[in-house]
Amino acid sequence: MVAFEVPEIDYTRYTNRQLAAVPLAVLAVALLIIGGWYVATGAPVNPGLDFTGGAELRVAVDAPDGQAREQIQQAFDPNPATIRSVPSDDTYILTFQTEEVGVSTLEEQARAAGFEVQSSYTVSPSFGSRTQLLALGGVAFAFFGMSALVFLMFRTFVPSIAVVISAFSDIVIPVALMNVLGIQLTLGTVAALLMIIGYSVDSDILLNNHILRRSGGFYESTHRAMRTGVTMTLTSLAAMLVMTIVATLFGIQLLAAIGTVLVFGLTTDLMNTYMLNLSLLRWYKYEGVGN
């Protein structure tokens, strides 16, 4: 069997500034995108059905290729806001962001057009906005709880803040990517953002632990931490990538949403841990500590 090895990067070739510049630049761009989104749309992300309220129908359409969408457009009044086809079976997921028409009416329209209603889901706007508040509170609680825990564990400022900044960036960059790629914020993506907090901190803690608490030189410790950490992130990444692809094919939106955002988050985490966190740690180790 061919074992792959995590490549050893010669960090001595790069200064701390150089190392930190890339992730910080990406973070800045991400913040700009989110800020711009806020200015342009009034919300930092595109809230999905769970938060805005509306209805979602999954209908089986028995139509020749290419005509299904047309039939759907004709069948419903108001027209669906989005139409997504599920590759594995001939169904379409339609969303309606409307308050005037109830989901019962939409179901009737679907049946009248000869579609089979596979599932329907509706959230009222007022319920949605309350959910949004709860979700926001949940993410904030998770983030601050994690930060407090990290500070308790390391009890030194620079390594702790390095972890917290990395985790912050791990959340912000996927959110910006969601905006760019048109992925809406749903309960699934909120769950994924919380998972990122859990997953991404692992490799940061590992790195800090190896560098601060073990004997051995900085670069040796770094390499050992990387070997373990990169393997960890890669296995998770592989699982999530596969889950995203398969769930998308099957039209299981919850799993697909969680998978997609985690893929973004884990990839971001690779960059943040081994460039941003590492540069901060190296600065701390060689210059920050007054020894």
């Binding site: 074992a3 309350r130 709880g145 309960l187 919380l194 296995t235 998770s236 592989a238 699982a239 769930a247």
Partner: protein, 518 residues
């Protein structure tokens, strides 16, 4: 004995695994699938599937209503208070006002109809001359539990097997009613629960200046309610009922007085000629006249002679059979004290999954999980290239899932998509931590002594414990906040992390030691 003592963690894992398998597969542990509320059992295993994976309808909505607390009635009786309050509010009938006494002279006043704000209730109480402490959105706890009971009755009466109704409260203090009905179409459930179900019979009869209407029978006046009948042979669909003895004589007298039970019976033409018809009986559901009928000569004669009250049987005619069924359900289950806030501008959410869709979600998500496991296994094998390290890793991670599945089967927790997502997350974090252990233990050359192994394992465990703690913190909001479907995801991720740290990861350490320190 030494073997057991040294490897007790492995033995503990095996015992727990066996227990989980027992919970999963043993027929003795099986909960009766048909009776388990809101769930469908799967056959081969004892796992329960939630609506997402078995199909059905879920409705979650608050109750409509506003409440005034500590209202001073003085000497006035509750029915009078209800009338006074209803009289002050537009579009509110006495049936929409509920007065509950707490002491002799004080209590709560609820108005359970859409469109009345707490301020309006306050103004109405002021104008009616009652003092109160404050008014708020929402209804009282009594009304909530009454509504829940009646809704469950309705679902049982309608023959929707396995349906459940429960109250849930969010941590922020909002109350919702959660209705889950497996295998049932959304529309049917909504039709059933959306009706207040207030059934009464009115007499409609001519007086000097025109026609008068008066309620003659209400739900409490019936001793028993029969099953809806199809009718046939000239008879319309109907519900046979028996009127209570205590009110039968009264009713009989009213029938004679109003002329419904006149000589030779009465022929009702309420729908076509409401201004010239014979006296009629009107069947009224939630304020809407659903049918009108006269009285047969035979029944009328019985009432006139006074014999009917000895055997007070009666039928409520309807236009069609489904209406008859609806009336029977409403009469038996009772009227909802407060309606559910569903509908386009309501506060509720509802979801429906077709049983076929649920089935395919079940197999598809299982397949997704298995493929994800293979992806993880592939990376692990590629990375280590040693079957001795990699295989136990995969087996250990999978055993975490088996334990969680056994747990879910044991407590009857319904599996949903979010729980499956949790399992996949558990495999992800589980393998991550096993990688930490393996790398740490195998670092810098061979592990030749037990002491070296122990110290390295301890170091690895510090990181794992820290990582587990952060994951639990990150997931805890989802586990307690009622953010819809995601509670299951959070609960099983947290459980998985706990099982991993306390059970499987220490056992993996032992396995690895056995393999490496031979």
């Amino acid at each position: 004995m030494g073997v057991v003592r040294e490897n007790w963690r492995i033995f503990l894992l095996i015992v727990v695994l066996l227990g989980s398998l027992f919970a999963l597969f043993s027929p003795t542990m099986a909960q009766d699938g048909a009776d388990a509320p809101g769930l469908a059992s799967s056959g081969a295993t004892n796992l329960q599937y939630g609506l997402q994976l078995s199909g059905g309808t879920r409705i979650r909505a608050p109750l409509v209503g506003v409440t005034a607390t500590s209202v001073e009635f003085g000497e006035t009786q509750p029915p009078q208070v209800e009338q006074d309050v209803a009289g002050q509010l537009d579009g509110v009938t006495v049936a929409d006002v509920i007065v509950r006494q707490q002491t002799q002279t004080t209590g709560t006043v609820e108005v359970t109809v859409d469109g009345v704000t707490p301020e309006q209730l306050g103004t109405a109480l002021d104008s009616a001359g009652y003092t109160y402490e404050n008014t708020r959105e929402g209804v009282t706890a009594e009304t909530r539990s009454q509504t829940v009971d009646i809704l469950s009755n309705k679902i049982n009466e309608a023959g929707l097997s396995g349906g459940t109704v429960q109250q849930i409260q969010t941590p922020t203090g909002e109350n919702y009613v959660l209705i889950e009905v497996p295998d049932e179409n959304r529309q049917r459930v909504v039709n059933l629960v959306n009706q207040r179900g207030n059934v009464r019979v009115d007499a409609y009869y001519p007086t000097d200046g025109g026609y008068d209407r008066e309620t003659v029978l209400e739900r409490d006046d019936f001793q028993s309610i029969g099953n809806a009948q199809q009718g046939g042979e000239g008879q319309l669909p109907h519900v046979p009922v028996v009127v209570r003895e205590s009110v039968a004589a009264d009713f009989q007298q009213r029938m004679v007085q109003t002329g419904v039970a006149s000589q030779g019976g009465s022929r009702c033409r309420y729908e076509t000629a409401p201004n010239s018809t014979d006296p009629c009986l009107l069947l009224v559901v939630d304020g809407q006249v659903v049918n009108s009928f006269g009285m047969s000569p035979g029944l009328a004669a019985g009432m006139r002679s006074g014999d009917w009250a000895q055997d007070p049987r009666f039928i409520l005619q309807t236009q069609n059979f489904s209406e008859a069924r609806q009336v029977a359900i409403n009469l038996r289950a009772g009227a909802l004290p407060a309606p559910l806030d569903i509908g386009p501008d309501g506060e509720g959410t509802s979801s429906f999954i077709a049983p076929s869709q649920g089935q395919s979600f079940r197999t598809d998500s299982l397949l997704t999980g298995i493929i994800a496991v293979f992806a993880v296994a592939g990376v692990v094998f590629l990375r280590y290239g040693e079957v001795e390290v990699a295989l136990p890793m995969i087996v250990t991670a999978l055993s975490e899932v088996v334990i969680l599945l056994g747990f879910a089967a044991g407590i009857g927790y319904p599996l949903d998509l979010s729980v499956i997502a949790g399992f996949i997350a558990v495999i992800g974090t589980g393998v991550d931590d096993l990688i930490i252990i393996a790398d740490e233990v195998m670092a810098e050359g061979d592990v030749n002594s037990r002491r070296v192994f122990q110290s390295r394992f301890k170091k690895a465990f510090w990181v794992i414990g820290a990582a587990a703690a952060t994951t639990i913190i990150a997931m805890s909001p989802l586990a307690v906040l009622s953010l819809g479907d995601l509670q299951g995801f959070a609960i099983f991720t947290i459980l998985g992390v706990l099982v991993g740290v306390l059970l499987t990861r220490p056992a993996y350490g032992d396995i690895l030691r056995a393999l490496l320190t031979r």
